[in-house]
Symmetry: C2
Subunit: 156 residues, 2 copies
DNA sequence: TTTACTGCAAATATTTTGCAATATC
DNA sequence: GATATTGCAAAATATTTGCAGTAAA
């Protein structure tokens, strides 16, 4: 699916979500969604806000925060807390389930896909818990840092 | 292993860690470690600080933060970011690997053990990544909240 | 005696909130 | 026209930092 098609689709998803709940279709909400879906990587609120401002779109930080909460609720983005103070987000639509490798030496975050593991986890029903989604964060050293022999451990 | 024995053991571990790095064996560090290992649950910095103060031990918040960082570094405690702003911690010594169920309605965190899943994840070696530990956070609704029909989704 | 560590308070970082103005329905 | 949403600034929350005094080695 081409990026432009995805953007159109998620805008429609947001549109129906807002309509269903009688929320308003403000230009800010669609502009922020579009900005997010033009990115290829994880982002944090400040980065997103900066991008909006730099591309000439005037929004307030408060609106960026509000909209991000909304997009998390309607499952168009996923929220992560990788161990730093600030939250990270990523696109959720049309993105395959993946896990995260976090290098505790260089702090890099790499995504890995593992359908088999995904199925195993999805099938679990611990304590009659109604699982909606999950995050698997794997900490350690990436190949590069393992070879370099450095050992600084930041988190966890 | 009895709680008192565990406390003795972790104190010795801390002691050697400090000695190795020529860091100082201050009473605060051991008192904080002892307080942590007397708890049965996850805790956050503010709760820990409150407990120290309430049991008559005078420490500053700064020292609590410093000591927690130290204990994370020497792997006597584990840090979590469950999606709220503040970090949570738990004892690491002698504690079996477990996963976390986080209810997005009532925010409760429940631990579950699953040795089978644990073995599967431990065996993975994605991208030649040198895995030291991992966190699996599962979000959804606990049995109680699923039955209550409430739907507020806070995170993610 | 040296300097790592502590406590305090101020600073920083991130997110939330109150409120008046604005824009959607 | 009613009110959800915005922008702004101030507040709240969580954590870090600078620095003078204290105490471990």
């Amino acid at each position: 699916m081409a990026e432009q098609d995805i953007i159109e689709t998620v805008k429609e998803e947001l549109s129906s979500y807002l309509a269903e709940r009688k929320l308003r279709k403000t230009p800010e909400r669609f502009a922020i969604l579009e900005q997010i879906y033009s990115l290829d990587e994880h982002f944090d609120v400040e980065t997103l806000y900066g991008l909006m401002i730099n591309t000439g779109y005037r929004v307030s930080r408060a609106t960026v925060y509000n909209t991000i909460d909304l997009l998390v609720e309607c499952r168009l983005i996923i929220r992560h807390q990788f161990g730093t103070n600030m939250a990270h987000y990523e696109k959720a639509y049309n993105s395959e389930c993946h896990h995260h490798l976090i290098c505790t030496v260089c702090n890099s975050v790499t995504e890995v896909k593992d359908e088999e593991l995904n199925h195993i986890i999805q099938a679990k029903r611990y304590n009659k818990f109604n699982l909606t989604n999950y995050n698997l964060y794997m900490y350690g050293q990436c190949q590069k840092c393992a070879n370099s022999g450095r050992k600084k451990i930041i988190h966890p």
